[in-house]
Amino acid sequence: MATPLTLFEKVWRGHEVVAQTADTPAVLYIDLHLIHEVTSPQAFTVLRERGLRLRRPALTFATMDHSTPTRTEQVFGGAPISIEAAARQVHELERNCAAFDVELLGLRDERRGIVHIIGPELGLTQPGKTVVCGDSHTSTHGALGALAFGIGTTEVGHVFATQCLLQRKPRTLAVNVHGALPAGVSAKDLILAIIGRIGVGGGTGHVIEYRGEAIRALDMDGRMTVCNMSIEAGARAGMIAPDETTFRYLAGRPRAPQGAAWEAALEQWRQLPSDPGAQFDREVDIEAGSLEPMMTYGTNPGMVIPVGGTIPERADDPVFAKALTYMGFAPGQALREHPVNVVFVGSCTNGRISDLRAAASLLRGRKVAAGVHMLVVPGSQHVKREAEAEGLDRIFLEAGAEWRESGCSMCLGMNGDLVPKGQYAVSTSNRNFEGRQGVGARTLLASPLTAAACAVRGRVTDPRELL
């Protein structure tokens, strides 16, 4: 009998143009190359310098998200983009896509959004594909059973010119999540707990496959949240085997196969899940039933505790002490009831429709506490329209939150949506690094439900108190 293979192994093997040897990495074929304005300009420059074209422009797809404005008047109203360098980057992408024949969803395109939201949304991301982008959260697309990972700008140039990458084969890590998540505990809490358990370097050199009942029970939005933060555990990629949930999600999406091609694709996709008995290099087991809403207290996503927990003590660890000083916290302190200044719901981690529904469910009929600035930024224009059709925008606005156009926004603040120095921001994004949301900003990562609960009370709150 053939050796049982993992999902990763199957996708990898299907894309080996040249297998790796002791001396040379594999040449791996890329099915989908997503690009955006920040990490592509220097790669286009290399093409120009060397007189090269894109090998497969049709497998390349561009959007703008990182430095784009979220204020309606700057997107649609003819007001200029307030940051000049950002405007230049946007125009450079338009120019490059036109010159090199790449399909671009421009600033006013109704399909535009954060690159990792629109790939799956348009049906471009599919099971078994290799997907790359000059962005570390490309791991998100692994939720559909693709092998998807972030690359640097030099590699963006490699894919442009050859549709291939030189890659060493990563190791595999199975994260088995048993049981069911309790009420009020979401995919975000699960992935934060996993990172807390294996550490920010715990997945380095590995592709994670998330498995088990709790993963199967997640909808696609939740699966994307989990895979999105694989990189925060240092993993190269995160993957989830495609199943009926995946197929239902993809059916009928504009760029998904249609008709007979759909049936043929389904046939292939059903072969992808890891074979029984397939071996992983490492395995980790997590009990979903014991998890609680989580929140970070430090300056990397591994510094995380249950919302109701207390900050640990780590004597003789100057790095830990420095992180707490930055955050204005002390060892042994409880997070609960700590005042909150800003609440951000959005990003490629939690900017999808289910995330907005979760936040809105808690805000319905309630108000954002006085003095708290709450910003809700849908992950794509499609998510925005969907939310508006359901009346979620009214709920946010009536509660006193801001409702914006899509983009990365306050996740990294490149477009000027920043957390003021020293303020505490409960954020549904993925990184709480020093200065990530603005110089001196103090980020507390949490789920959309927890973020909404904190907005209502103006203090760190376990959302289960308000359910």
Partner: protein
């Protein structure tokens, strides 16, 4: 790319562990469309005060850091974003090697493509290096070894292909373009031609 064989320099030490790419170069400097000139933004939020003036207490601003091409950093360096601006900023500042206990995958890839050597050492060597800033080291790429001032030599892992490219100044894009026949055959097999 210039070939590298050996590297000799005093070290500059940043003890913080898990230094992420947002520290190496904050997002607000990513609106550039070129690769050059990012060295001035390296570690910007640690290096400059709120008024933009260099902080005298930050090691990269001190006279002994001048001319150092080897950075010793705390455990696990380069996590976070895929921004190649991080190695661009480090090399533009004049650094050619970073020593730590582990590197984030994307950062390591990006560094190697820009002639910046990620050197992984064991915990004991790492501790010694953190405690002895400014000591002269020499790195031999051919042997993948690092020699401490007392003559002790430690080997570090370096992927053979990356080593070959660094030693010979080989450009990976050229290597990939040379695989045209295999790529075309693969596309034909998949019906992509």
């Amino acid at each position: 790319m210039e070939p590298i064989r050996t590297l000799r320099s005093r070290t500059v030490v940043l003890t913080a562990s898990d230094i992420d790419t947002d520290q190496i170069i904050p997002a607000r400097f990513l609106t550039t469309t070129t690769r050059e000139g990012l060295g001035k933004h390296l570690f910007a939020d640690w290096r400059y005060g709120p008024d933009g003036a260099p902080r005298a207490d930050f090691v990269l601003n001190q006279p002994q850091a001048h001319g150092c091409s080897i950075l010793v950093a705390g455990a696990n360096f380069g996590c976070g974003s895929s921004r190649e601006h991080a190695p661009w900023a480090l090399t533009d500042f004049g650094l050619r090697a970073v020593i730590s206990t582990q590197f984030a995958d994307i950062f390591r890839n990006n560094a190697l493509k820009n002639g910046l050597l990620p050197v992984v050492v064991d915990a004991d060597t790492h501790r010694w290096l953190l405690e002895h800033p400014g000591e002269p080291l020499s790195i031999d790429l051919e042997l993948s070894s690092l020699t401490l001032p007392n003559g002790t030599t430690v080997r570090f892992p370096l992927e053979p292909f990356a080593r070959y490219c660094l030693l010979n100044g080989v450009d990976e894009l050229g290597f990939l373009l040379g695989r045209e026949a295999e790529i075309a055959a693969y596309e034909a097999r998949r019906g992509l031609a």
